[in-house]
Subunit: 181 residues, 2 copies
DNA sequence: CGTATCTATGCAACTAGTTGCAGTGCAATC
DNA sequence: GATTGCACTGCAACTAGTTGCATAGATACG
């Protein structure tokens, strides 16, 4: 499983609380791995048990106390080992694609409308990623190390969103063509 | 959950056994939804309990008996209802992208090699899809109804694979550029 | 002749992930 | 002054999906 390892990567970049991780997963890392805060807390506890991370209790005033997690040497070693291992080629999952395939057994016009809605959502995501790129990586050619890698993953997200939007356009065109359904 | 509905779509196209479905999920439908045979048998049993499908026992000689599943009116209604409902925008999950992001905490050269391996796998998939398209949909402009929808989903798979390959190329180039790592 | 693969179904035990709920205290909005 | 939202953590119960195993006759390969 990779949530543990996604968390290791995230913590290797910056020691964080579960709450921070959950927000980070909603943004950058979340492009290619999502998790709810419940799942993150659960996994963090297990990781602490495995000795991959240590928690430091931090008292704050005006806010609840927090537990700041950081990698241990074992955690770093585990991350290195995991990165060196081959990954399974991932299988995409898309409800919407299943609905497109089944459109003839429902209402194709409604499916087209739903695709249009998704197009708008992904257009927004794309704009968000593009704005991030401009702000955080104004000069990509100068990047090295983990900043370069972060940028590459962002590029992956941008690429994916663009691809989806293109496909949505194709689907909308085909489903709303005159004379055909 | 959508496995049930992916199965409904598949059965709406053609009454099938669990075994057939499992193979179908390895190919066309599997582009956007995968399932193992165990999961399929389990879900089919539940769907039969819900009255969405009925099984007919078919004796064969030389081969084990099989259970041919077909949709009931309830199943068809359920499918229509589900298709009409909005779908959640899907979250991508990619081990490999997480590894790219964490490359600096492991061996970036090894990550590049792994990306190259995935590139080859996806190139193969792309070729497979393109061959399918040529064979099964030689004249896309003439398509209507569920054949059109099947083709659209295949186009989605083709599009996705192309996008991934492009991104892999970008990553490989960046990770193997001289003077940078 | 023996081994592997295909057709065909399924159980049991497990891991991963989701949903719903709960609590606290501060700051900002209405 | 009351409600909403944010920061922060977590439990409990559930659903979905994975892995390993079992069975069994037929055919194909070496």
């Amino acid at each position: 499983m990779a949530l543990e390892h996604a968390i290791l990567v995230s913590l290797a970049e910056k020691a964080s609380t579960g709450y921070d991780l959950a927000r980070r997963f909603d943004k950058s890392i979340g492009q290619f791995w999502t998790a709810t805060h419940q799942q993150i807390y659960k996994v963090l506890a297990r990781m602490e048990g495995s000795g991959w991370v240590v928690a430091t209790h931090v008292a704050q005033d005006g806010r609840p106390d927090k537990k700041l997690y950081d990698l241990t040497e074992d955690g770093r070693a585990e991350l290195r080992t995991w990165i060196a291992q081959p990954a399974e080629p991932e299988a995409a999952r898309s409800d919407l694609a299943v609905k497109v395939r089944g459109a003839a057994f429902g209402d194709p016009k409604a499916v087209a409308a739903e695709v249009r809605r998704h197009r708008a959502i992904h257009q927004e995501r794309l704009d968000f990623y593009l704005a991030n790129e401009k702000r955080e990586f104004p000069d990509p050619s100068a990047l090295r190390g983990h900043r370069l890698h972060q940028w590459l993953v962002l590029r992956g997200g941008i690429n994916l969103e663009r691809g989806m939007i293109d496909w949505y356009d194709e689907v909308i065109a085909a489903l709303t063509r005159k004379g055909k359904r």
